[in-house]
């Protein structure tokens, strides 16, 4: 099982400092990379070149964009709810950093490792909709308000299939009754511990994708909706709501929303990798390489879907969640529970 920063650095202040620095660095680099990657993927799908001017094949384009964004004036509209408006980008962004710190990306080292990792990830994921609603409500703009209302309804609806589909994995981990050797002795595999979930898959040599294909599909769709990615990007549906909840945000305030969106995508892909694709498990290459390869493959799939499909309508989105995904995930969970009990 991975050693955490606290195991390595006994002083909590140093451990926290290193942890935050590491997570922020990874998230920033990821966002810069993902924006460039998304532009390149969309260009490839749309028979274009994408950014080509700044750096080799436009690799420095997002750095230039970020500098531009930092230098821009922060326009504050009239009639806003000041505390909500100013807090919203931070409330959206902070949980992302917290959630990212929970990811066990290798078998040797992790930033943290708790027995309630999965619960924490979903909890931090739920924060985002609060921040989005704050931003939409505080902006004093009807389009932003519409976007915020959509976002809250959507996030709450899709959290249910998201959690239900991951619970079937938790059940499997618990039922397999695997044990891990740690320095002090042996511990039982815990279904809520992200490192244990990966560890069980690595030990058994079977990814949960093969045992739970339906759960993976439901989980992936729900992640798309949770991260407001197309075809579920209705909170910011630019052809209807202009820019949705962040219509009135400019400069780096908008940048934080953007940062959070790409980081959420990254975290969603990481959780899917951990739960279903065996995390760091894989031959030849070192663990972290496998982990990030799988994660970025899922990120690529998200982009691929975004640039292929049109957007759903709001009521169709809700019908899809409550009429199809929730019953299916409950059914999947019941069947899993039944099989776990029988065998």
């Amino acid at each position: 099982m991975p050693r955490t920063l606290l195991d390595i650095f006994p002083n909590p202040l140093i451990a926290v400092g290193i942890g935050i620095t590491a997570v922020m660095t990874v998230l920033s680099v990821n966002t810069l990379f993902c924006i460039w990657f998304e532009r390149k993927v969309s260009a490839w799908i749309q028979l274009r070149m994408g950014p080509m001017e700044v750096g080799f094949h436009g690799t420095m384009q997002t750095v230039a964009d970020m500098v531009k964004l930092l230098g821009k004036q922060l326009v504050t509209p009239k009639g806003i709810d000041k505390p909500l408006y100013h807090l919203a980008p931070i409330v959206v962004f902070a949980p992302v950093v917290a959630a990212a710190s929970l990811m066990p990306f290798s078998e040797s080292v992790a930033i943290t490792n708790t027995n309630i990792g999965l619960v924490l990830v979903f909890m931090f994921g739920g924060f985002a909709s609060i921040g989005i609603f704050m931003g939409g409500w505080g902006s004093n703009n009807k389009y932003a308000l519409l976007g915020a209302m959509r976002s809250v309804a959507q996030n709450i609806s899709y959290e249910i299939p998201l959690i239900l589909s991951s619970l079937s994995v938790v059940l499997l981990v618990g039922a397999m009754g695997r044990e891990f050797a740690v320095d002090g002795g042996v511990i039982q595999a815990n279904g809520m511990n992200l490192a244990h979930i990966t560890g069980v898959q690595a030990q058994r040599g079977v990814w949960f994708l093969l045992l739970q294909p339906l759960a993976f599909i439901i989980f992936f769709i729900a992640v798309l909706a949770e991260t407001n990615r197309a075809p579920f990007d209705i909170p910011e549906a630019e052809s209807e709501l202009i820019a949705g909840f962040h219509t009135e945000y400019s400069g780096m305030r908008f940048g934080l929303f953007f940062f959070a969106e790409f980081s959420n995508m990254f975290i969603g892909a990481m959780v899917a990798t951990i739960l279903f694709l065996g995390g760091w498990d894989g031959p030849v290459l070192p663990g972290p390489a496998w982990f990030f390869l799988k994660t970025y493959f899922l990120v690529f799939c998200m982009m691929w879907i975004r640039w292929t499909y049109p957007r759903l309508r709001f009521d169709q989105l809700m019908t899809f969640a409550w009429g199809i995904l929730v019953p299916l995930s409950i059914l999947n969970l019941l069947i899993t529970a039944f099989l776990v009990k029988v065998f």
Binding site: R150, T308, P310, R311, R313
Partner: protein, 377 residues
């Protein structure tokens, strides 16, 4: 115009409802359309289109300049079917003044007008998909459309506002390069249409978004004077090219695609089918292209007509486009009234948009394919 929204505004806002100003600056209002929406949540209770943001007084301008001077204005009324409008004006003047047009010029006019129609439908295809959230087809369509613009640019000298027609003919002759480029474009488009079919028409999300949305019934369409693909999607096979053939359209064999459901999907299918029919017309025209002059032996410098009233209509990419010209016998029109198809379509909007959702508003406005400068004129 429907004054429902304004009445309610004066009475004060009802509980739990609000007003949303969609446009004139809005990403999917196709220019400068402004919709004043009375909403409850995501539901539209009433809708009032407010137009006039692109008013350029084309009709008034026609009254203080000669017919020849007004010619460049005609391509600017509807920037997407500039060729059709431009040539329609020439044909109207020819009808009024009794000018003969050489065979070759007539056929060239058919070819460029149909290319223009395909170009307009391709742009509509892309922007409609953009409106309902599919970004990629937009770039594919523009890739195809670019070929047409190149072809027309080569022969007329501009990409959108052509002014290619002259009273009695066209300005420039087409050559072998034009013919081979057009033929290769037709092959290319026919190769691409099955791909659009797979990417868009068969897409479940697309069908869900369009099916049964924004139904315009035959009665509604007739009541508001809706024409063009929107009317044909409601089940009426009315096309000026067949109903009152002008130019040499009666020579060509083509069909009028119709659907009966009158929803966004029907309008989509009608337009895609029309692109194929336009390809057929262009092919027949290219096969039977006569040799000869492209303008009358003596250039028309001054239009001579008897005083009176003249009406001439063509099928533009958006429907029945008519010009009502009142002439007092001089070189300058006493009055020109332009009957533009988008205006009639837009007048049906309050009826059609009532009770839909905000996402449907975008889909419906996208599917009827209005061009705002053509409404405002």
């Amino acid at each position: 115009m429907n004054s429902g929204v304004l009445d309610t505004l004066q009475r004060g806002v009802e509980e739990e409802t609000y007003y949303l100003n969609m446009g004139p600056q809005h990403p999917s209002m196709h220019g400068v359309l402004r919709l004043l929406l009375h909403m409850r949540g995501e539901m539209v209770l009433e809708c009032e289109p407010i137009i006039g943001y692109a008013h350029r007084a084309h009709e008034k301008m026609a009254e203080n300049r000669s017919y020849i001077q007004f010619l460049p204005n005609t391509s600017r009324i509807d920037y997407l079917s500039g060729m059709i409008y431009n040539i329609a004006f020439c044909q109207a003047i020819e009808k009024m003044a009794g000018i003969d047009v050489p065979e070759r010029a007539e056929v060239i006019r058919v070819i460029v007008c149909e290319l223009n129609r395909i170009q307009s439908h391709l742009l509509w295809f892309g922007t409609f998909l953009l409106d309902i959230g599919g970004i990629t087809p937009f770039l594919y369509c523009f890739d195809d459309r670019e070929e047409i613009l190149g072809i027309l640019d080569r022969v007329s000298g501009s990409r959108l506002t052509y002014s290619y027609g002259r009273f009695g003919g066209v300005t420039a002759d087409i050559d072998d390069v034009f013919i081979s480029q057009t033929r290769s474009f037709l092959d290319r488009l026919r190769g691409r249409l099955p791909m659009y079919e797979g990417l868009v028409t068969k897409n479940v999300i697309f069908r869900d978004r369009c099916k049964g949305v924004g139904v315009i019934t035959v009665d509604q369409a007739r009541a508001y004077g809706v024409t063009g693909p929107v009317l044909r999607a409601s089940g009426v096979a009315y096309d000026v090219r067949k109903a009152e053939p002008y130019g040499v359209y009666d020579r060509y064999d083509f069909e009028i695609p119709t659907r009966t459901s009158g929803d966004c999907l029907a309008r989509y299918e009608v337009r895609v089918a029309e692109m194929e029919q336009s390809c057929r017309i262009i092919e027949q025209a290219l096969d039977a292209l006569p040799e000869g002059a492209i303008e009358p032996a003596k250039m028309v410098k001054k239009v001579k007509s008897a005083a009176g009233e003249y009406y001439f209509a063509v099928e533009s990419a958006r429907g029945h486009f008519g010009m009502y010209i009142v002439s007092d016998g001089t070189d300058v029109a006493s009055r020109i009234k332009l009957r533009t198809p988008s205006f009639s379509v837009m007048s049906a909007a309050p009826d059609v948009l009532k009770g839909t959702m905000i996402a449907d508003v975008i889909a419906i406005v996208g599917s009827v394919d209005v061009v705002l400068p053509e409404i405002d004129r």
